[in-house]
Symmetry: C2
Subunit: 404 residues, 2 copies
């Protein structure tokens, strides 16, 4: 187990390749493939040790199969677009190849993401005797593993989880997204939801807001949105009463989204323009800065954590597990801003866990189903340390006093 | 003199055709031409008496010449796009045809409008013994004629002119423009300027704002923008010390423009999208509601005027000349909202003045160079009455206290 095939050479895919290339004990053979070979060449030049590159259209199962047959990877790490999860999984099933990704499948035409499509591959992966590891980025990914760690090591009983995600960085642009704009804007503009007492409660997009006090960053306006890790965590964290996900957005960001929505610029249905069919959202993507272009001069920090409330030895307890990353530092290390960095480092640790046999099993798994402690130790060494603190009574009160 | 050729069947062009068709004593032969014959057919159905229709590409001088030779109009009324003023004027020169428009030429590629290009036709029109009447809409148009009327009949000396343009209508859309979005957004997002003591003073777009108390509407936030009639009025109103133009914009409107500007959506240079060259501004136009679609259910009023300060018999005097139009009423009359109506009715009066020989001359003229009183009388009968009031000392003080 030492050969990895990475598909996707965007901002986060570039981090995966560079980080793998820093650990040749674990990753002896590294191939990076993308629709645009130029992107692969650019990343290969940034890698500290030589990697292979290849051209592939990830929408095309036959092309992915042919590439897999050539590279013969022990694990395929999918860093392509979420639409492409299913064709890549199909290619893995066909060739008997282990699979990992960082974001769940969503159809291209509708803004809807859920695990059902990928969980449906359970039997196929079991039959083939292979492993699929879903959502091994930061959130989903590290956020799930923190919850698993809390369940295994810190609490007897977990009642409430709030995943809190703050990017307090400044890229100097009035509006830009930190990862693929299409995916980012879909995620934010769809209606929110959270899970409480056994059911999903839907809310209008960005309608619940509170100030959350983020470590090393301070209080920031945060909005309740739906995020995919909630779907697997409600299954895998036992006894849970409520789980919510919060993300910070600045005033300018919200203002831009409101306008995009109001004029139909985030529409997924093509409109006629001079006889051509143009999908507004795809055109918007081409108008906005490419996320990888934001690294240069990006300052400030990301501060992402989970706040867990529950009981230990019969007593109430609130703990926060978090990581803070600095845009300028990650840019110095791998020419990527911290949002790409926090997404790109965890799959490298996940792959290491898998190659070492610490994470194993036949079928389709979410990361919180695997041992958490060795992963957190490994990912800390690669650049994403976890801090765990007890929250004093009254801390984050504003968060818990939100009427939901 | 009884034959008119109207080119352009948009919202305002439709009003011109319908209003001409209501006065067959003056307009015995009416032809409406447009790039899209369907638009002409639709307008013809709305006319109270039968009109001719034709297909023409106004960018193509030879096509316009051919159409003129067929129709043999005494006057061509250009209601097409401002880019098309020059090819249409070329066709008029070639065929010896009198010309009228409502908006001055601006190049397609750059957001810059000025009369220089059209004034340069002076010698050609003189040589051919024909007349060009520029800017005979509402503003420019009626606004210029009010200034001429003030000069001829109300004042001995005019020092300050403020043209104030309020659309207090509600079309129920979060964002839409009342005329061609491309032209409207260009006009508003370019830097502002006004004329003072013999020179043009430039200001950043939308950087000077004050509340103006509009007749029948009340106080509204208004922004100093540059508007084309200022260029000819500083030449034709003698002794003028200052002229400014103000337009109302709501918060949502400004917010949308800011976002459009910030993400480059009003750019005139094509960007690459899936291998196609797409001009962002043109794509935006296709995203937004078609102005003619706003008439239905449009409520509220336009209130547009000129505030003139000067002297009469040695005493200081401030007068306001204005018109108020009601969206619902204009829609009832000609299925057009008031912005299209106020633009489309004045060229009909201008054409009547020309056919009656009240407006005459060889060369290129702005409307304030012609007799004002008979025009104002005529346009009032056709639906746009002028009210003239003395402003009490202190009225519109906020306007005059603006530091500029």
């Amino acid at each position: 187990m030492d050969t990895v095939l990475i598909i996707g050479a965007g901002a986060a895919g570039s981090v995966v390749a560079q980080k793998c290339a820093m650990d040749r004990d674990t990753f002896k053979h590294i191939t990076l493939a993308s629709r645009r070979i130029e992107s692969c060449k650019k990343v290969a030049k940034m890698c500290k040790t030589p990697i292979e590159i290849a051209q592939v259209d990830a929408d095309n199962v036959a092309e992915v199969v042919a590439l897999i047959n050539k590279v013969k990877p022990d694990l395929l790490i999918n860093m392509a677009l979420p639409y492409q999860d299913l064709p890549i999984m199909d290619a893995c099933v066909e060739t008997g190849t282990n699979y990992m990704d960082t974001a769940n499948y969503e159809p291209r035409e509708i803004a809807k993401f859920e695990y059902s499509w990928q969980w449906a591959y359970q039997d196929k992966f079991v039959e083939k005797g292979i492993t699929a590891i879903l959502g091994c980025g930061f959130d989903p990914g590290v956020s799930n593993i923190w919850c698993a760690y809390a369940q295994e090591h810190l609490f007897d009983e977990i009642e409430y989880i709030d995943i809190v995600d703050c990017n307090a960085g400044d890229h100097g642009k009035t509006f830009a997204t930190n990862f693929n704009p299409e995916i980012n804007i879909r995620e934010v503009t769809q209606d929110g939801k959270y899970w409480k007492d056994g059911e999903w409660i839907e809310i209008p997009a960005l309608s619940i807001r509170c100030d959350i006090d983020y470590p090393e960053v301070g209080p920031k306006a945060s909005y309740l949105i739906y995020h995919e890790e909630e779907e697997s965590l409600v299954k895998n964290i036992k006894g849970l009463k409520q789980i919510r996900f919060w993300m910070t957005f600045g005033e300018q960001y919200i203002k831009h989204l409101e306008v995009f929505k109001s004029i139909g610029l985030i529409g997924l249905e093509p409109i006629k323009h001079k006889g051509m069919d143009i999908v507004p959202m795809e055109f918007l993507k081409d108008l906005l800065p490419v996320p990888s272009s934001l690294a240069e001069g990006y300052t400030g920090k990301t501060s992402i954590g989970v706040i867990v409330r529950g009981k230990k030895d019969g007593k109430p307890l609130t703990k926060m597990l978090y990581n803070v990353s600095d845009h300028a530092e990650t840019n110095k290390e791998v020419s990527a801003q911290a949002v790409s960095y926090t997404t790109g480092v965890p799959p490298v640790s996940g792959a290491a866990m898998f190659f070492k046999g610490i994470w194993s099993g036949k079928g389709v798994f979410n990361v919180e189903q695997f041992p958490s402690a060795p992963f957190l130790e490994d990912v800390a060494k690669r650049g994403l340390p976890t801090t765990i603190v007890d929250l004093a009574p009254g801390a984050q009160d504003e968060l818990f006093s939100v009427k939901t």
